[in-house]
Every structure is written in C-alpha cells, then in structure tokens.
Symmetry: D3
Subunit: 255 residues, 6 copies
Amino acid sequence: MRPNKIREHWAAGRPVVNGWLAIPSGFSAETMAHQGWDTLTVDIQHGLIDYQKAVEMFTAISTTDTVPVTRVPWLEPGILMKVLDAGAYGVICPMINSREDAENLVAWTHYPPEGTRSFGPIRGLLYGGPDYPEHANNTIVVFAMIETLQGLDNLEEILSVPGLDAVYIGPSDLSLALGCRPAFDDVEPPVAEAIEMIAAKAKEYGKFAGCHNGTPEYALKRIEMGFQFVTIASDARLMAAASKDALAQVRDGLT
Amino acid sequence: MRPNKIREHWAAGRPVVNGWLAIPSGFSAETMAHQGWDTLTVDIQHGLIDYQKAVEMFTAISTTDTVPVTRVPWLEPGILMKVLDAGAYGVICPMINSREDAENLVAWTHYPPEGTRSFGPIRGLLYGGPDYPEHANNTIVVFAMIETLQGLDNLEEILSVPGLDAVYIGPSDLSLALGCRPAFDDVEPPVAEAIEMIAAKAKEYGKFAGCHNGTPEYALKRIEMGFQFVTIASDARLMAAASKDALAQVRDGLT
Amino acid sequence: MRPNKIREHWAAGRPVVNGWLAIPSGFSAETMAHQGWDTLTVDIQHGLIDYQKAVEMFTAISTTDTVPVTRVPWLEPGILMKVLDAGAYGVICPMINSREDAENLVAWTHYPPEGTRSFGPIRGLLYGGPDYPEHANNTIVVFAMIETLQGLDNLEEILSVPGLDAVYIGPSDLSLALGCRPAFDDVEPPVAEAIEMIAAKAKEYGKFAGCHNGTPEYALKRIEMGFQFVTIASDARLMAAASKDALAQVRDGLT
Amino acid sequence: MRPNKIREHWAAGRPVVNGWLAIPSGFSAETMAHQGWDTLTVDIQHGLIDYQKAVEMFTAISTTDTVPVTRVPWLEPGILMKVLDAGAYGVICPMINSREDAENLVAWTHYPPEGTRSFGPIRGLLYGGPDYPEHANNTIVVFAMIETLQGLDNLEEILSVPGLDAVYIGPSDLSLALGCRPAFDDVEPPVAEAIEMIAAKAKEYGKFAGCHNGTPEYALKRIEMGFQFVTIASDARLMAAASKDALAQVRDGLT
Amino acid sequence: MRPNKIREHWAAGRPVVNGWLAIPSGFSAETMAHQGWDTLTVDIQHGLIDYQKAVEMFTAISTTDTVPVTRVPWLEPGILMKVLDAGAYGVICPMINSREDAENLVAWTHYPPEGTRSFGPIRGLLYGGPDYPEHANNTIVVFAMIETLQGLDNLEEILSVPGLDAVYIGPSDLSLALGCRPAFDDVEPPVAEAIEMIAAKAKEYGKFAGCHNGTPEYALKRIEMGFQFVTIASDARLMAAASKDALAQVRDGLT
Amino acid sequence: MRPNKIREHWAAGRPVVNGWLAIPSGFSAETMAHQGWDTLTVDIQHGLIDYQKAVEMFTAISTTDTVPVTRVPWLEPGILMKVLDAGAYGVICPMINSREDAENLVAWTHYPPEGTRSFGPIRGLLYGGPDYPEHANNTIVVFAMIETLQGLDNLEEILSVPGLDAVYIGPSDLSLALGCRPAFDDVEPPVAEAIEMIAAKAKEYGKFAGCHNGTPEYALKRIEMGFQFVTIASDARLMAAASKDALAQVRDGLT
C-alpha cells in the first residue's frame, strides 16, 4: 500500500504543513496540490463541498504527492466510510465529546477486528494499491476534534482510546465553547491555555496534535508549542485576501 | 434595464478594475465578487470553465454589484449569443484579426438592425430587467482582442467598426505574435511599443482600451498609459501565489 | 448582518408567502426568486435536491430580496449546520416528535452558549455580512415540523423549547399519521382539527406557525386561521399543472 | 429502429404539440415528459442548457413516449452530430439563411451517402435500437429555422433542399428581422404575413412547418393556418406565470 | 402503481439477476440497463455515488424495464426516504445488527401505519404512477444486510420483523466479521457455513435471500443453494477486467 | 516539460496501445487508467462527454502514467485550444478532408511561429511543468482523421503538412464514405484496401498511423500492418460486452 507521508513525517519528527480546501472544484484542488503542501484537507464540514465534489478533489490531489485528507461534517458512519472508500488518507472528525464518540470514530474508520468499517475500498484500491485491505487500518490517520466543553472535560478519556492517532483543534469553536469570541490565531487567554493543555496532554498519551491557524506566523508558534500538524488558512481565504491586497494597491495608486 | 457600471465608470473617466476567473465554481466566483472588483471576467477561453459553469458563475457574481463579463473561446456565434442570453454585461472575444472579424463580433452581439443576434435573452431578462430587449445593444460592452500580427496590421480597420466598444490586449499572445517570449507585465520592447500604440490608436478612434496584467503595479502603469480597463491576475494565480508565500514563511521559519 | 425579512414581516404582523423548490437547478430557483415570493424553500427532504445543488440555489435566490429557506432531510447535525453555513436564513426540520428533538434542533442551529453549532459560516458571511457570527442566533428562523402522532402528543413540550421560532405543518404527513389519506388542502376532519389546534397552541406559546398548501385559496384560509407562513405548491407542481392546462386547451381545441 | 412519432403523427395528418425546455435539469424534463407533450425540445440555443445537461434531459424524456427534440445553438457540425449521437429524434437549427446553410444542415445530420454525419451513434443505439444506423437518416426529423431577412429572401431555395423535413419559425427573431418589436403571438402585420407565407410555401414544397407560440390559443390558430408542429411556451415561462398568478391571488386576498 | 418485477419474479419462483453500479454516471447506468439485468443496484454505500448522481442513474435505468434498486450508505432515515422518493423500487441497507435496526429499517421505508416514512414521493409518482401512495408499502422491496457478528447473533430476531422482505449478504464484510480475509466467492469455511445458514434461516422465516458474487459461476451456486437474488460483479469491475484481458491479449501478441 | 510517452514509444519503435473513453466520469477514467493502457482517449466527439467532464477525466488519468489524449468534436479552434490548455498530450481531430484542414489543425494546436494557438496553458502547466510553453509544440501529438472520400483523395496533401504527427483511421466512417456498411474490424474489401493504403502512405511521408479497432486480434493485425497506435474498444463497450457474457452464463446455467 502507498505509504502515508503523514506517518513518515511524524516518524521523522517533522511537522506536517496542511492546506485547507473550501472551494468545491477539482481544478482549485489540483492547483493547490501543486504548491507544495504536505497535505490538503477537503473540508466537507464547513467548506461548500459535498461527497461527490470531494471525490473529484481527492482525485485531483492524487496527481501529486500531497496527501489527501478530509474533514467530515459529523461523527456519522455513512460519510466516514464513504470518504475512506474514496481514498482519503486522513480524516478529521468534528466535535468528539466523549470516550464513546472517540471509540465510534475509531470503529467506523477501521476494519475488523479493530473496528467495524464496512468493506469496499473502491478508490482506495486505486490510490493505495491492491494491498490496501491489509494495511489501511495502520496507514490512514484519524483525528478527533477537541472543540467543546465536553471534549475538554473528557480529554483524557478521549486520548486513551486506542486506534485514535491524533487530536485537532479548531480555535474558533473552542473559543465559543469557552465563552470567548471566535478567532483563529489571536485567541483569548482561556483558549490559549486550553490549546497548550491539549497539546501537552496529547503528548502525554502518545497522540499527535494538530491545530487550525490563520497565518504562517501562528503555525510556526504552534509547531514550537509541540503541534505536529498545522493548517494555514484556506484556498478561499488566500484568494480573497490576495484580491483585497491587489485591489487596495490599485485603488491607493489611483488616489 | 440595469445600467452597465462599466459604461458609468467610463463616462465618469474612471478606469475599471477587473478580476479574472479561471476556477469553475460558483462559490469562488461569489467570494471574488465580494472583494470589491468593478468587474469579474469568467474566462471560458483559457479558464477551465465551460458554458454551464459560466452561468453558475454569472449568477454568483449577480449577488453583488460587480459586473459579470466573460471571455468566449473563439469568435463563434453560438457561444457569443449564449453568454449574452445568460446575462453577461461584457464580452471579450479573442483573436480579432480583421475588419470582417470585428464586424462579425458586433453583428453577433447586437440585435437587429445593428446586428444579427438571435432573440431569447432568458437570464438577461432576470439580470437586466424586462426592458432588456430595447437596451441591450447599448448596454453590453464588446471588446475585441488584438493579439496577432494580423490584428496589429488591421488595427485601424478593426477600430473603425461601429458598435465595437473597446479593444483588449493579452500581452502573452501579443508577445508570441511578435516573436518574443510570453509575458504579462515585463514584456519585451516590441511588445511594449505595440501596447502603447494600440492604446493610442484606440483613443484616436474613440474606443476604450483594456489590458491584462500580472500585478497591481503594472495595472497602474497601464492606466497611466491611457487604458481604461485593467485586469489583475486571476483567482487561481492569486490563490497559488498566496499559498507559495505562506508555505515559504513556514518552511523558512522551520529551518 | 443582513436582516431576515421573515422576522420583519412577522414583526409587522404580515404573513410570509413562501414558494417551494423541488427542481435541482440554480436557474429555476433564480426564475422563481424573480416572481415576488417573500421566501423560497429549497426542499432537500422530498425535493430531488442535495446539498451541493442547494448551495447553487441559495446563491441564485440571493440575487434577489427573496429570503432563502431550506428543509433538511432529517434532524441530523451535519446537514443542519451545512445549510446554515451555506447561507440559509430559515430552516425547516421534519418530524420533530419530542422536546428532546426540538432541543437538539435548537442546539444544532445556534452557536454557543444557546447551542452547539460549529463555527465556520463560510457563505453565511458573504450573504449575511461580516457581523454574521454575532447575530446569526437571533436572525435565522428555525421551524419544527409537527406531523406525527408523537409530535401532536408532545406539542406543548415542543412549543416550550426556547430558541425554537415556529412550527410548520405538512398536512400530508399529518393526515397519514392520523390514519387519513394524504392531502394538502382538502384534508379530512381529524386533520383539519389538528391543524387548527396546532395554530392555536403555537400562538399560546408565542411561536409562529406555518403550513404547506396546494392552492392560494387554502393559503388564504390558513392565514385567516392564524398562520403567519404559508406555502403555495412548488416549482415542479406549478409547471406540471400549467402544462396540463395548456395541453388540454390545445387538445380540446383540436377536437 | 424505434419509430419517430413525429413522422407517425404527420403521416396521420395530426399536428404535433411540442413543449419547450429551458431549465437545465433532468428532473424538470422528466416531469414535463409526464404531462403528455408529443415532443419536448431541449433548447441548447436560448435555454440555459449545454450538451452535458441536454444528454441528461434526453435520457429523462426517454422514460416516456414523448419524443426528444433539441435546438442547437448554431449551424455547426460538432454540436449537430453530438446531439444526434445522444439520441435526439428531432433537431431544430436556428438562422438558416441560404440554400448552402440548408444543405450543410442536411449533410451534417445524415450519414453518407445522403450526408457527411460521422458515425458513432452511442446513445442513439440505446434509444433507437441496434438498427439505428440503417434507419437514422429517414427517422430523425430536421427543422430549419426561418427567422432572418436572408432566410425569407432565400426561402424557396431553402425549401428545395432534399432531406430537409421542415421549417420552424421563431416569431421574435422574425419580428426583429422585419423591423418590428419581438413578440411570440401578437406579432405586427408584416410578421403575420411572413408567417402565413412561410406556411404556404412550405406546403408547396412538401415540407412541414412549425411555429413557436406563447399561448395555446395561438397554437390552435397556427394549426388552423396549416402548421403541423406547434410549441406552447416553456417550462420556465409556465412556472413563472403560474407563480405570478398564485402570488397575485394571495396578495389580492390579503388586501 | 407500476408493479415491481422483483416481486413478480419471486412469485413465479424465478431468481433475480442483479447488476451493480459503482460509476457515478447516467450513461453508464443506461448502458448497463440495456444489457438485460433484472435489476440494477446503484451503490451509494461503496460506489463513488451520492444522492444527486443516484437520481440521474435511477432515471437512466427507468428508460428500460430493469428495476432500479439502491444500497444506502447507512441505516439513516434521511437517505432512506430520499432514495425512495426518487423512485427506487428496492433498497438494500448495510449492517443490520439487531431487531431494533431491522424495525427502524422497516419503519423508515413504509408509510403509516406500517412505518413512519414521510410523505412526498416526488419522482416515485412519475416512475410508479399516481396510485404510488396506496401501494408503495407493498411494492418496494427492502433488504437488510447481514454482515456482522451481531447480525449473525441476532439473525432470527431480525428475520422476525414484519415488513422486512429479504436479507442480503456481503461475503467480504461477513468474512472480516468472522476473522477471515475479505472475498466475494471463494470464501473461507466459516463464511461459507454462515452463508448457507443465513439462506436456510431466511427460508424458515419466509424471507427472501440475496448474495453478492464476483462471478456468474458463483451466482449459479448461490441460486442452487436457495438464494433468490444474486449480484454479479459491477460496472467498474467488468470494465476493468475486460480491459485487463484485452490488454493482455495485445501485449502477449506483441511478444 | 513532462515528456510525452507516445513519442518515447514511437522513438523506440513500440506501438502505442490506446483505450477509449465514452463514459463521462472521472472515476471510470481513473479506473481505466489503472489497467495499464499506454494512452486513453477521452472522446468528446462521439462519447457522451463535453469539455467540463473531459477536464475531470484528464485529471483522473493524470494520477497515473497513462497519457491523456482526446478526440475533439470537430476541426474548430475554440475546443482544440481548450483541450490542450486542459492538459491533453494528444489530440485526434475528425474529418480532415484537405490540406487546408490539416494546416488549420496544425496552426490551432501550435504556438507561434509554428501556429496560432492562443497562450494560456492553465492546466497544461500543472501537468506538463513550468517549461510547458517552450516545449508544447514538440511534445503534444496531433492526429488527423482520414475518414471521408475527400480525405482519401487529398491524402498526400494532408500528409505533406509539417507539424502534423499522425493520421488516425475510423473504419466505420471510412466504410460509410466508401459505400460500405459501418464496421470496426471486419471491414469490406474497399475499406481494407484503403486502410492499408493509408498506412503505407503515412510511412512514406514520415507520419505515424493509428487505427480504431473493436478487438485485440485486429489491433495486432493493424500493428503488423504498420500501425503504431491502436485503439481497442471503449469503456462502455467493454462493460456492456462483459455484462452480456456474465448474464448469458447465468441465464444458460439456469436453463
């Protein structure tokens, strides 16, 4: 089976730099995949993307060495199994709030006996190779998002679940959960503390930790803080921000 | 009929700042339309976009005040009429090489008696209003691209055609035509001269002039040179460049 | 944040006249949006529409002042959050049968602390404006469908849930639930009674009430009965009925 | 090969009642096909439809006995051959202005030796049956639109072309061509005369004649006048008009 | 209502030969439907297909007498009701593990009083006919997949549920569940025993039994063993295998 | 620029074995690309595929080493340039009938000074690499189809055109042109002679020759006859034939 570069980076102690895809288009995904991201995450939760477009995007990413990851809309077995069958090598699941949630997440993403994933890895076989069935359980990387009060309360129980590879933090949701205003980077103190705590606890339990960021600066801070998987903005945000900059230059130049 | 802001800007002596769309997606088009571009051009020629996606993108742009423009793949009546029926308020036609080409372009984009456009402005009526049929001929803006040796040779004949509103320059094609390497901004001297000449001749014949640019700096130079319609890069380029920058910051920070 | 005209109509004591969309097409949605409906509901439950097409339809509706509403296929957090992120300003959820159902509906459609909606209002920000996060909870309108025996039994408990704005009645399902044949308007007596009862109870609990109708006549009756949100047939039904009429006129004329 | 009901109706002296499709959706096409139209025309010219959606619509129509017809955007061999390969049993070509145009139209829609259609009737074989290749030339019906001054001038030459089955009139374009305002039914006198003349000349040359109408009343008048193929409005217009009616009833009822 | 040929075959003691669709395309579905399969199953679970494409495929199948069946991704009411509304005449639900699962499956696929399916059979009415509402409960065929240890343990309880028509075996998942390697035909002994047992028990409880196979040979064995519904490979597998064969013949011929 | 394996095979004296794609789906294209074809041709002429789907299919093919080729619907500059911009490495153009046709084909597929292709290789840069502009003219392979009487008459003139790489024969169209019944392999004698003649003449003029076949046997015969590019049936035909075989085995086994 094609090895998962996420695991290779982690084994070598290298952080993984992740891009984010919210635009439902194979071409924008392929363009992003040619910029040098280690991984690209097709966001089926908050991105304007559903399963059929996600498949087109996984395919587009597969023209390069960038690893296709996805975020599912919810902890639901149907979509979790469908994205894996379609060849995702990493999956991020939002709002994991309890040990039971984490156990379900692991079960639905692993074949028996480790889990209860149904068999039929249709594009997985194309992308991963014919021995996909034997190695999928140990190749695919599964992230649980910690972003609610419940998730914080049950963090150690969640981190204790075997088969879970990593946790992932959405600072905006975590901020809302802690009664703060939503933000990516410049979060309020309780959120900052929670983020540090999650990174520390993950390490303690032998799990990897990932974090969503709005800027490269913050991604570097998170890496320094111990995060091994950092996201930097998204296709749509990069495009919008670059547009605003370019327009401002012209408008300013004209006046 | 909803007025065409391109004409309003020109009447007021203001240059039009145009964005470029190559990603076949309504959402990326809508996101771009919210950044403040005067116009957005759906590129059906070199963009990865065909008619059906272009309609979705015109619709997405129509949620804002940004004016929907499009570039057709070729001087062909079928697609010219279809994009107008779908509500485009400006159309850029590549490779206009002769007076006959320019006359056909005008004919196929204007209703009788000015032209031979077939009647059926299905989405044009939704976007423009019920009086679209009476005013379309004087509202929609038509650009002829000057980008070949023939086009340069016949420039004055092309500029003499009534009903043609403007010319548009693709510096890359013009460079190739003049035996130079393709470039957007930093073109070789013969191309630079041709560009200046086209702007001057257009003015002489009472036509507007537009130019494709790769950067805001060059857009400003072109405006200074007399261009009234300037394009600054595209959705895909802005996204790719911003990705490269962000990645470089992280990679540099790590070493 | 762009105000929700549903709330403005209700605040002014005006009923909201709603159209229904079952055809998966941005163009038919845009055409409908230009006819003057107060709101248009993209039916992801019984319409032949899934999320990706629904986004295209929300966008098409957003070219006008008509408010985009949607009906989700089921009380499931993934799709509820996705349609809100995509800019829906109203959401109708089928088969709310208990207080717990209603509480989940409210939780999944409101940000903390009122609920547990995950943060990422990607197209919501485009449609609603940059202050969407602060005002979404009080702007978006949430309807619970009362259409089962359980729902009737637990009606007062459901109506007691804070954050629920309104109930919505599907007379066909309610008919089936009460052992009657499915109908929109000319329902059997037990259904008629239930409908009146629901409207009365909703008023008592300070909630708004909506009803699905097959004809304008019935919509008017429902308004008179106290309903503040009335649906009149759907795109597909209107088109089919008008076709049948037109064909009948020609066939009759020929014989 | 599945017989073409258009030819059967004509052989029996019955007029064909045609519906018009401008909405790019298989479901709306299938819904229309269940209303009893003899034929349905997928309008790739002025409808918001391109080839890929047209195929989906032909398929949807093929679930019923309604005959799939299409209007191409222009007299261009690529699209003419593609729609026939996709199973269209009738094709309407806009703006046939000369004998040469009509000869090209016939050539591009017929296999050798009658024409130069390229061989590859991929969905034609599914819809028509395995003997499609032998019978396609005599089964498919080809309409030339007469809608320009040139077309009127060259009418008899056009009607003389063997292999052309019928002419079709778009009253709006014909009106514009004759310097009148565009209209479907209530055309100005010069247009009315031209329409009558075309019907008479078609009969004289042994061709069938079709006409676009806005109402059943006018379709009946056209049949009486000798037309054997009458169109009555379109999916989008029927839906829009029915919406306007329904809304007016409610708004009136409320005041 | 259009009768369900699955029930007709079963009533006549004839096994049903089922094809499998994993390619998200109306054209490949229509091509398959013309080959003579009794039924075709649109696989929304492991196929690369979501709801919107499934509808296009049901429509394509409906151009023939082949019966449209589908497998949903999971036991979830939203998608179960949507595929039935879209006209599926058979539904296969994966991973039915308990009596409660089976009861939910029956409830969500039957109108009251037999179940709680919500009313709105939009394309069902087109495909089935206007009396669909009265007969759907007794016409549509519902299969529960038995493919887990729990499912085996609770087999008799599952088979006791009224309204469930049949069970369906996925030998790969069953193999994994029993600690064997996944296979379609040549399964390991414990799986072979389980398959025989399921067929026998189904008969005992008056239910039909279906099985997934990789080859016609095995399909025949399963029929002999008492299965009344047999699947033979899929569109993608048939195409891939035939490609490999054709290529091998050329490569061999060249050396 | 990524080298074109077609040229590498030809330089090494190896024939190219080509598969054919008529199903509009990225997944079926990707599945085919994993079977070992040297090249896969996306048929936009007779396949049920338009440009937007073709791009998705080129992308899917690009996940492997198989070379993406396409057949355009007609000798028309718009689509020829669009497929090259989208990354096709080979293009087959139907119905080249004269030296002028062949010259246009070469012009429209090569940048100046060899031709007049417009500059904007958007996905070509992703697939081919950043030096695509310098090498595209010598990398991409252009085939002219010889399939009409005119094409046969003007064969030597066509073969004399510099920049044309190869000819391609569609035996069905050639059969029709010669007054024979359409066939792929077992063609009538005049067609057989023409095919041999074309291969011989191509060799004489230093061009490569390709041929469409229905079976591996015939592909081998054509290679022996001197053809260096052989097509073997298509995705849809392989799938249909394999279905028919599998079904026949079951039906036979049952009786």
